[in-house]
Symmetry: C2
Subunit: 562 residues, 2 copies
């Protein structure tokens, strides 16, 4: 009878993935980090080998000799506007650009396991087609003509698997392109590869049996996050110019997932880019056209980024009522608030906000909405190939009775009540009546807060998700901005005596901070920006302001790229 | 033990409603139509007394002597902009305006049973408050300062019942205002009354035990429609300047209904006005502020109405594949298409479209989504007071098992597939790629089609709903525009020999057309305008164009109000 079929399928997927990387794009053994010498299977469980492997891998693509000098320039010199302009001006061909990014994606894969489906052949074919089109007609195929992009494994591409990390879904290629893929290609973007995700998509390390564990190129000890972890790594490694991940909670549907797993929160797609300008450049092309492709997309414009004329009111939320962040996170948030309040460029009012009591309910309500089918369909899918759950999911993913319609409606009503209460307490909506003049209750334009209660954690140790899940439940657009790296001075920070642990997560974080904090040294600290529902464009605007103010502060007036 | 409690409750509600109409606002008996001499109970069942009572009642308020000359002028002379301007210029006080409309609402109630909750006392109180405010501050309270409005019974108002026509929900006043009510009042609008609905809201005549049957003031033989029937009548009778009804399928939530009945289609609120300009005047104030009040409202702007610069492509949909309209409806649609195509004022391309095959599925999918709870909670609610179902609902509302989560998700997936297919087939979305030049597949801007396969029908005989329900399922904004009255010539139209009945509804319509068509003489014919999802503003724009072109054609260049 042999081994269970999930092993056979996984081995066939590894072999296929490897076969798509040409031998001349193979890295010399000396560049391969120790964690990549494990088989994908072993990378799931054997975490001890990552100790001591903490040096950044960002320099390898440039050093390894696989990319020509011109290819290094193509993949490193330009932002998106710059690269599109070079192609439009015919100083670079789409084929040359695509080839450079395909090579770089192949290198990234060998360093981090960030890919699931390399699409090098079709990408190069599409690039040649674009070059021909430009040659023959003198016109660009679309406003993103020749832009190399990557997309998370969840987006369907005709003829390619969308496994969400589950072996039972392998070797079942999609019969049509996802709306985002159609839209990107209709504008001339070229998809270089699909990127790795956690088995089932339902946790925060990108690891599964078929594609193994995606590693963080900045530090192998730490997680690259998830479920769009492969995508984040691909963008950092410059395997593409911009990537598309998903988060669970919004508007662009992912056909691969839908219909297989039942959740009452819908996933939303969003960009992962290297700068706000890059994101803006692409979003201004995608957003106004999205409704033609995604049947549930909202018609919207995407005006140019510009500094709002009025004073901005930004709320600072240091806790969500469930966790008090570890000292360095609270310290970083205060530092960012101070930089914004003192900004000479922007007129920003900083308002400290305490978490509304109702905010504590968000995490559990999200969890219930995500689990309305009682995990049965998912576990059945795994059972088809005798596939075991990933370590993080064991004990967390348990078969229960599906929720009844009655309970589902009660849950939705609960969510509505939370939304109404949060709108009132967090944003001061509706605004005070015309006839009153309370200024303290003025609505906020945006909120800044931590992304998690701790810095980037080790593999499989992600703690409480409430700072992210809460905004997914509420469908508030959010974005992440890198602030600075964690310093020796940060490591000296301690909890104050007044801080009481709010929860078991708090206690765990305290223990870790006490015993293991030095793992965080030199890792990036980031801040989250949140805006009211469907104000995505304003999010980009506020992110641009925050990002610029932070760069001015940390890098001086040169405003260099972080 | 006495009579079942639904009778007691109904009698108490009648008495309360009557007690709120002052004796000096009572109509002389000679103005009361015969159908109003029935008790509310009898009006449910005794339909034969309406025979012969077909004369318009629109002139009664002016003739009956209850309104002063100035009050007739206040309620008849102005459109919304005009009335707001008179109040702002202090030529009319809010109190005088409100009093005139309260009287007129009381008259309308005595002629048609269009109200459920007169709010005359609180409306007059609010009006005096607005007058004071203007007096003291020299400023308007808001952009709708003093505008008299009515709202459907479903909108919660603190301290007032929202029964949806079910006795078990009577004498349970709401604890807070609905978002739309908050928004309207924050802008200075004054709510004159709430208006009648069908028991359970789930059919198309506005009739229930507590408030009786709402009558059509144009012709007692015919239905005023539903579920916003009371609201339509109130606006026609000028009991208010504009009204708000609901249709099931969209974004502004109705707390009264939610949580009591379970449907997987959400109801959407919309205006019922006497002109596109009136609707535009109010919507441009409501829409940009809606998101602050309704937690599920979408941020949007409402630019001024203006003629689109480009050529408009309007599709004409004569059938939905389930019914072929009776001859006068098809004839009217051709007439309207011709008028639009020949319009000298607008540049309109008229494109005939055949119903996509998938359109036939919309009706049954809607019905299933509306009935996911298997009618149990509704029937339990009725059983609490031993309340019987209205005649139209008997045999149609039957207790079934609630839908499982699995089936609900399958239904939602089915709806998604329908949406995707309809977008492609009906609107030609996504548009052809940049690199092709098919012009036949160009996207449509709007569609015109019938509202029903027949003219305004008799009470309790509404046929197939597919022309309305389909667009509710798909969440397409739609509007109704009156075209002209049905003439003797229209009555001579016959089915052509090629027309084959598509369904049992078709057969019923044919029989009725053969035997009873003369009931339709002089009744209004209307056309429906449909636009893609969330293009509400463009809907208003196209409606304005269609309305103007029709008025030019039928009324000449004077462009008088229809």
């Amino acid at each position: 009878m042999g081994s269970p079929s999930y092993i056979d399928i996984s081995v066939r997927k590894w072999e296929r993935l490897n076969s798509l990387i040409p031998s001349e794009w193979r890295l010399h053994d000396r560049y391969i980090p120790s964690g990549m010498k494990l088989s994908p299977f072993d990378s799931v469980h054997k975490l001890d080998c990552f100790e001591g492997d903490t040096g950044s891998l960002l320099g390898v693509p440039r050093a390894c000799g696989i990319l020509s000098g011109k290819e290094v320039e193509i993949t490193e010199k330009w932002d998106i506007r710059g690269l599109l302009y070079e192609i439009a001006a015919k100083r670079l061909s789409s084929e040359d650009v695509t080839l450079a990014f395909c090579k770089r994606a192949a290198i990234a894969q060998q360093l981090t396991r960030c890919l699931t489906e390399p699409l090098f052949t079709s990408a190069l074919e599409q690039a040649r087609h674009l070059d021909d089109y430009l040659q023959k007609t003198g016109k660009l195929y679309g406003p993103l003509h020749g832009l190399p992009v990557t997309v998370k494994d969840t987006f369907n591409i005709k003829g390619v698997d969308s496994t969400v990390g589950i072996t039972a879904l392998a070797f079942k290629p999609a019969s049509q392109d996802a709306p985002l893929v159609q839209l990107l290609r209709s504008l001339g973007a070229i998809i270089i590869a699909k990127t790795n995700v956690p088995q089932t998509m339902a946790f925060l390390d990108s690891v599964n049996h078929m594609f193994g564990r995606t590693l963080n190129p900045l530090n192998r000890l730490l997680t690259p996050g998830g479920s769009s972890g492969g995508e984040g790594v691909a963008v950092v490694m410059r395997a593409s110019m911009i990537g598309f991940g998903t988060d669970i909670g919004g508007s662009i549907r992912i056909p691969a997932m839908y219909g297989k797993l039942r959740v009452a929160l819908k996933p939303v797609a969003g960009p992962i880019g290297r700068s706000i300008q890059d994101i803006d450049t692409v979003m201004k092309e995608l957003v106004p056209r999205a409704e033609f492709f995604g049947h549930d997309c909202i018609p919207a414009l995407w005006p140019s980024l510009s500094v709002p004329k009025k004073k901005l009111r930004i709320g600072v939320l240091g806790s969500d009522g469930l966790v008090n962040p570890v000292p360095v996170i609270s310290h970083m948030l205060k530092e960012v608030s101070g930089i914004l309040a003192r900004s000479k460029e922007y007129d920003i009012d900083i308002v400290k906000i305490t978490p509304p009591a109702v905010m504590k309910k968000c995490l559990i309500t999200s969890a219930r909405l995500m689990d309305v089918d009682g995990a049965g369909p998912l576990l059945d899918l795994l059972a088809q190939t005798e596939e075991p759950l990933m370590p993080y999911l064991r004990g967390r993913t348990v078969r229960r009775s599906p929720t009844s319609i009655d309970k589902l409606y009660a849950l939705c009503a609960e969510r509505d009540q939370i939304e109404i209460e949060m709108r009132k307490k967090l944003w001061s909506w509706p605004p005070p009546a015309a006839s009153t003049s309370e200024s303290s209750g003025n609505p906020l334009d945006a909120i800044i807060c931590p992304i998690a209660a701790h810095p980037v954690p080790k593999h499989d140790t992600y703690g409480n998700l409430s700072f992210t899940t809460t905004f997914v439940l509420l469908d508030y657009p959010t974005g992440t901005i890198p602030v600075r790296n964690l310093t020796e001075a940060d490591l000296k920070l301690e909890y104050s005596d007044q801080d009481k642990p709010l929860s078991k997560w708090d206690e765990q974080n305290r223990i870790f901070w006490k015993t293991d904090r030095k793992v965080y040294l030199n890792t990036p600290l980031s801040v989250q920006v949140v805006v009211p529902r469907l104000h995505d464009h304003e999010l980009c605007q506020v992110m641009d302001m925050v990002d610029t103010a932070l760069k001015r502060h940390y890098l001086g007036d040169s405003k260099a790229m972080l």
